[in-house]
Amino acid sequence: MTEWLERHIPKMVLAPSFIAILVFVYGFIAWTAWVSLTRSKLLPKYEIKGFIQYDRLFDSPRWDTAMGNLFIFGTLFIVTSMVLGLLLAILLDQKVRTEGVLRTIYLYPMALSMIVTGTAWKWIMNPGLGIENMVRGWGFENFSFDWVINPDRAIYAVVIAGVWQASGFVMALFLAGLRSVDGEIIKAAQVDGIPSYRIYSAIIIPSMAPIFLSAFIVLAHLAIKSFDLVIALTGGGPGYATDLPATYMYAMAFSRGDIGQAASSAMVMMAVVFAIIVPYLYSELRVKKHD
């Protein structure tokens, strides 16, 4: 008996989490899938009506905009955060005496919720109140920075705020990565006559591939879930120019009373997540077996 218990304790410890996840994640996904096949309005109904919600979804120009925005936002947000994070990490890696303070400054946005900082960013980027106004006040009358209110540019304003919030974290990841590169490799490169920038670009950075992957996953996850950011900064506007799938889904479920539609959009979002996460999981679990 105790032998049996001993052998199975690990499984029993994992079991509650496993069951919880099965019910509260996968059960709910299944529930959503089901609801996406119904005509649920204000509250869920369970009578299957086929794929009508998906037809509506793909017919909706707003959903198109949302997906388009996710693509633009996702790409720019991830790329910019990575580039900026990497740059900051490299700069901080140059034996800067004030590193501790600077690191905290770069990292703190991660601590704030977007509900909190969205307002500040809204002001800063508002042409009448913020930077544009300030720069014009300095005498540059033609300076213009009106992205938040320009439907064609507003999504880039969201990118700025997003990058502001996430790049510090990416910096931390990369800094940790730089710090774990074998010092002998760098010495070898120096003796080999390779200049500093080439050491970074050709040797160190390529060797941090796993960290790029981690950063990518964290950022992709933030991009897909980005909701607070848009709500606080633009409310999805001007018009619905900055709608993202998450805000679309939220609007459908909670202000439109169109839960069926919301569920179908959620399923599409989940498919996107799946497409990103499965390769990651694959590499993660395979690599570990390797070493």
Partner: protein
Amino acid sequence: EPQAEVLHWWTSGGEAKSVAVLQKEFADNGGTWTDMPVAGGGGDAAMTALRARVLSGNAPTAVQLKGPAIQEWYEEGVLADISAVAEAEGWADVLPASIAGHMKCDGNWCAAPVNVHRVDWIWANAEVLAANGIEMPNSWDEFNAAADKLAAAGITPLAHGGQAWQDATVFEAVALGILGADGFQKAFVDLDMETLKSDGMVAVFDQMRKMRGYVDDNFSGRDWNLATAMVMNGEAGFQIMGDWAKGEFLAAGKVPGDDFLCASVPGDGFLYNVDSFAMFDVKGDDKQAGQALLAELIVGKNFQEVFNLNKGSIPARVDVALDAFDSCAHLSAKDMTDSADNGSLLPSYAHGMALRGAQSGAITDVVTAHFNSDMSSAEAVQMLANAVQNSL
């Protein structure tokens, strides 16, 4: 002991004060009031919370809900029947029929109205208009002429905030003016496809394109009260906004008629937005007692007067003396009675009185997309028809 938990999104300034009146009355009648305010997104957040509460079987006693949403919730089978209170209080006699209609579910009373907002107001700075020799416009052409004049004088013609619901507010005011009461009814209440695709609708979008030109550069995301302040400060000439804007003027010590002007937007009709509390099914005697008491107090004369004085709207019941109200309110009350008679008393689509969320949202999507881009009117009409069709 009567108990009530009230979910609402009146969280600040005049509104909060107005709710406080109700709470005080409730307490005076021996009840315990639990306040559950959820601000943000014009009630979106509150609706999120409501849905979660209902699904978890823990609905609040009363919820700030209005228009077809009440019926929608009723259809989900979660609303209570308060006919007993309504009959005892004789609500049917004191509420205008179209408003009463919103409060009934399958013939039973299920919600209590608080007020009537008029949505199709146009507000103006008296001084600015006088200085430029402009009268309150009676047609959209007059409005355009006045606006051009203001623009020439370097004043922003139309104070506006670039939020979807504000775009929709302007849009429905324009639509009412151009399509007329009948057309409005067909388009935004009955969702008649013919009307939605008609030339009249093209004209409406044409006018919207003009309106876009009258707005300043910084309008995006601006809160409506900041737009009102622009009118107040003489930075802008007009604002098209519901009568809650009046509260801002009054709060700043401005006098209607002298400092600012109010008029209905060009065209016939009255777009109303009735705030109300829907009563949810709750268990327990004290909660049900609280619910009944709450309903009684909400429609009570005292609360209707005090609340609306604070809020800028007019009482829902017609037998409240309006002595304490200002001239704009008087105008509103008179117009309401008149249009009720000639059939032009219409629910506001922009404020969720005319249509269910999915449809009104679909329309707003098109309106705001058009307003914020250089889409042609013809395209917009086509899109509108598709969106409405798609949302059904």
